[in-house]
Symmetry: C3
Subunit: 351 residues, 3 copies
């Protein structure tokens, strides 16, 4: 985002306890202490980076009130109780400019079925398609080139970014945010093998995405065979994640990029899956389970564990096995030596 | 799918041998015995769930004719030769409502090149693009926001769901079904390293997708360098799968979600690849090979094997190695003890 | 691509040193020596396939000048200094027909904000959306159904294929080529855990894609938290790759399909990551590091190494460990035998 905040604009946003130095430069960017250049705003969020402050080229630096030191010429130190909170306030302000509240209404290029029910406060952007019987909630935003199928229900304040596809009869509760290219309600992957061919098992269930869920770019969530695939309230899903049919994901889970969850598995609340992790079909992952990147969860797991590896094991064990594996060459060498020693002993004892 | 079948509607669909009980409730959903609630239809497909029948809250339950037991008040037991087949009949009926046969014709918002040949029975939905020289077969359905490039041939009864992209000169035979976001005919990934830069190797081949293939949401199939990437008849591909240039996949294969097949590899007929599995470039996988989830197929494999692990090994061996790996801590401990014992023996023997 | 080159057309393109034989057939396809059929052009690029020449069914074969042998009836041998270069010349000619230079201008179905700046030589294809303040460079090509958000800058001669989405305030330098379905500028995946919920950390940075970068179908590149995610000049990214927020990728890197790079990591120039490899967050991968398929790069790596495995180790070590792992059954057996022998020795020595 290209911004241009004067020093006084900035001070009005963050409400500082103290200001040291002054500058005529506008703040036009944000950067870390190390990478900041003239015109950038930076901040000291973690005391262990304190030594980077005197070196930083940032024009404005947000610092804790107990920070000792003076800015260079043309640089400004802004002292406040919590620099991270102040930075967040600036970011929120920028966010409002990055994503301005769209005007309500239906863009003339959108194709909306006559019997779709669109709230007056909703925005249907250019080149969207809304099929028969769909319902679009208050202040919902279909940004551009979005597809909403027959009978879909989009809750209040949902935000569907460009190129999102929500297939027939799926349901989104309130404030769901779908990044570009997300597919909700594609067919589950189910076939029966009949006379040498894979015959399709009809996938006539749906998908329910509860409130405050976010789904990352190009992720896919399949419709259930005949019940519902469910993503629980507050769960956050990263990019290129696959959620198969009949999966039930609990509330406030985190699924990092490229995770895959196979059919009919369930995740309890607060489960965290690292990037590229996978969950086999028909397993139950307990509440609060944490899985490392690339972990392969192939069996039911009790609540609260931390697993890694493929197939996943308790993380401490997996780490130990990883270390011991590296010692295999040494073990084989020592073993050969020991075997030779024993042969020698046998010889001498039988002598 | 929201449905409302009266009991008599349902009985007309399934043709029962016997009906026990009655209900005034309409059937508005389908669910497993365990999760069903009032208004749901359920079924006993597998005898081992028989004990769930008396507990089930389903309003209507499809049961085998030899089932012994009576429904509760307001519940109906429908007995028939094969409850799974009966359920499938209901699902097929629901499927027809979920995906009603679209009216033929070209939506006024679609952009179709004057020299594209569109069958009179085909449907080109809203905001589709069909480029010059493309051919769209009988009863083919481009649902919405689909892109069909120059010279593409779409066979009879193909179904391209919203946001599908088929790039120039690719060919789909009959009844191919592409889920939302599928990309067919993206460039193969080929470069030559010349004077410190990766120079593009032109990718001027195509993709042929044979009849009855299905491809899952957001999967990608690259065009060949100069011949054809081929997906064999009846093969089913799940979501987020990558098929690289010049790959030839046999007939009736199954590629689960997030599988990747690298360039120029070939898969025989009836190959099954578990989720997140990968196939290296330039290898030949024999007919009927089965690979577990996350398997890494790095070499040619003879027909009929079952492999897992990375790099993939025969499944039984991989399982054994997985178990022995877990015993490494014990082995190291025992080894230390044994080494100490031998040292002791050596000492006493030299004494 | 369906082509039809007469023999004389072909000879005009490749400029042969010598021609043996003649044919009345047009060349309508390209294929390898082994798979070529009548009407195909083929070539001998690598001397080790020389024995395939006499068997080849190709109508025209490009051969090195020192090739000894005569074509069969109706077949033509075209001899030249470098058959691979000649083939590339033919491919380039085909490529020009596959991707004809589009006429400049804005398609009437595109939705372009009045204050977007579109170069007169640029092409905005059907059903594209270009938002407020966006800048589209000379000869840039937005093919169809492309989304370009507010304030985006698209450099000269960029090519955005159908269904590409570039989100607000991102920047593409010159000649960037994005395959269908690519998402640039989706939100970074950042949350703070506050009172049992994941609160969104605003992602207000951008993405900079430098010149001559290519990105494969359905890959995703997240915007930075508040600085810039950067893809360095000349880097090539395959399909279904995930690049997280704040990642900085050097120049001339290769990221194969389904790779994932987690947040804030940096890759030096000329890094190569094999298919399905992953890079953890906040690590630095040195210049020229090469990682095998499915490698998991979990720590900083010095320049120039070749690693594989998960967690990644030096490739030679990883290979050795893979071999020793396969010998675990033998090691356990030998160990049991050795333990028994030592027990025996102890018994006899204490006797």
């Amino acid at each position: 985002m290209r911004v241009a905040y004067s020093l006084s604009d900035l001070l009005a946003i963050v409400g500082p306890a103290e200001v040291r130095g002054t500058t005529a430069l506008a703040v036009t960017g944000l950067a870390s202490l190390e990478t900041a250049r003239a015109g950038d705003l930076s901040f000291l969020g973690n005391p262990r980076y304190k030594t980077q402050v005197p070196e930083s080229q940032a024009t404005v630096i947000l610092l804790p009130t107990d920070y000792v030191g003076e800015p260079r010429l043309g640089q400004v130190f802004v002292l406040l109780a919590n620099p991270s909170v102040a930075l967040a306030a600036v970011c929120t302000r920028i966010e409002q400019r990055l994503w301005p509240r769209p005007a309500p209404g239906i863009h003339p290029s959108a194709v909306v079925a006559p019997d779709a029910v669109v709230a007056a406060s909703a925005t249907i952007g250019p080149l969207c398609v809304v099929e028969s019987g769909a319902q679009i909630g208050e202040r919902a935003h279909l940004q551009a080139q979005v597809f909403v199928g027959q009978g879909v229900r989009i809750g209040d304040e949902c935000w569907l970014q460009p190129g999102v596809h929500v297939s027939a009869e799926c349901t989104l509760h309130a404030r769901v945010r779908l990044q570009p290219g997300v597919v909700v309600g594609s067919d589950g992957f189910g076939y029966e093998f009949v006379r040498g061919r894979h015959e399709k098992v009809p996938q006539v269930g749906g998908v329910i995405i509860e409130s405050d869920v976010e789904v990352g770019a190009n992720s896919t969530i399949d419709r259930a065979r005949f019940s519902q695939t469910v993503i629980g309230e507050g769960t956050k899903i990263d990019n290129l994640v696959q959620v198969a049919h009949n999966v039930v994901i609990g509330k406030h889970c985190i699924l990092c990029a490229q995770v895959g969850v196979a059919g009919s598995s369930t995740l309890g609340d607060y489960v965290i899956l690292g990037g590229q992790a996978g969950v086999s079909g028909h397993v139950k992952i307990g509440r609060g389970v944490k899985a490392g990147a690339r972990a392969g969860l192939t069996t039911d797991l009790e609540a609260g564990g931390f697993v890694s590896g493929m197939p996943a094991l308790p993380h401490m064990l997996e780490q130990r096995l990883t270390i011991l594996r590296k010692r295999l060459p040494e073990l084989f060498r020592r073993f050969d030596a020991l075997e030779a020693a024993v042969t020698e002993l046998k010889k001498s004892s039988s002598a």
